[in-house]
Symmetry: C2
DNA sequence: ATTAAATTGTTAATTTATAAACAAAAAGAT
DNA sequence: ATCTTTTTGTTTATAAATTAACAATTTAAT
């Protein structure tokens, strides 16, 4: 599982960019904390762990912290991503315009169904067989799996074989990968079910 | 933040259903653990915390555990969900057919842009102004926010005002809500950035 | 220059989550 | 019927994450 502190660092970055675009030059742990929904101590602790240092009494210099976070997250280069599965989610992500802002780029889409490839697309699309060719040619390390549950593990195997090292998985299965490949799962249905559970529980507790 | 054990319970459920459909009647903590990617002790601990009990030496009776988890998750009724924002993700989720299997139903979609409402849709769509009317009429407690960052907090306020108690948020902002409203965030970009960080770090460590 | 106020950064304490250990119970074999 | 094996369920231990506490430092004011 990916550490929580790095996930928060990513959030801090977005927040710092927002404050910077509003004209601020400095920010306090308290402000940042409130914006992210954590305690100021958490912010300082996270910053400390990644050696992001501020100025006592004067807070953090936004540009300075951003430079260092950008360095941490390797924002100096654009990270290429492939997408396997051109169904509902796949198509939606391909249409999404927010990747470029964050120095990421979807470079290719794949599907086993030739019908899905014909669609007028913002990125080149290929048969799933071409995964190794494209991954190696473009030197891609990150892939998204947006295929049905039944196909997910096989797609995953192909990706790993091709050299993918990080996978964002939308299929509702736990993928089996070698230890040097890291998987991050997203489960919309699961999250909704968890929300149902918590809200129903809260409802009961009131009564 | 939603507890991790309930999130795993939701995963166990999916896994149990899969095993059941394969013809199994019983299952061991070891098997379930392997499938979900946790330790058998974790499974037993989770089950213990929710009073899901098995049979020593004979493992867990799938049907029995499923009945109890279904009860926990209130699977006896269908949970209505509204979706605000009919852009890329909104449209994709509306097309998604997996909600019914899990006793959930998208009952309405909303957008401020009238152009978005005209699209041939599987569910009724309304202007965002209609949120309170529909939520109260249909008695909905769960909502999805799939609008741009700038609009998210206002949409959230409207939802809360209308009576929504659980929100799945795709916008990259921390929403401010009263304590009885629970928010679950999904950040595709954030997750991808985290994957980039971890894979680059692994790469360095090898060399 | 000295003092006061504010905010960081680190250390300590607490809580939460995960992993390990082991006793108890059930099934099956002898 | 007794013993052995297996697997649960609970208890204890470890690790991770969060929160709290407080010393150190910088700024600004007197």
């Amino acid at each position: 599982m990916i550490k929580k502190n790095i996930q928060r660092i990513i959030q801090y970055r977005m927040c710092l960019l927002r404050f910077q675009s509003l004209g601020f030059e400095r920010i306090f742990s308290y402000t940042l904390a409130q914006e992210i929904g954590v305690s100021p101590e958490q912010v300082r602790k996270d910053f400390s762990q990644f050696h992001l240092r501020g100025n006592k009494k004067a807070g953090y210099l936004i540009q300075d912290i951003l430079d260092q976070i950008n360095d941490l997250l390797h924002k100096e280069d654009i990270h290429k991503i492939i997408m396997v599965g051109l169904g509902n989610i796949g198509q939606a992500l391909i249409k999404y315009k927010g990747f470029a802002n964050r120095n990421m780029q979807l470079v290719a889409g794949f599907d086993i169904d030739p019908a899905k490839l014909k669609k007028n697309c913002r990125i080149p699309t290929f048969s799933a067989k071409e995964i190794p060719v494209v991954v190696q040619k473009e030197n891609v390390h990150i892939g998204i799996i947006a295929v049905p549950e039944a196909a997910a593990q096989e797609v995953c195997n192909n990706m790993v074989e091709a050299g993918i090292k990080g996978i964002l998985n939308f299929a509702p299965v736990m993928l089996k990968t070698p230890p040097d490949v890291v998987v991050q799962n997203i489960s919309v249905c699961g999250d909704l079910e968890a929300l149902v559970y918590v809200t129903e529980k809260n409802k009961k507790q009131e009564s």
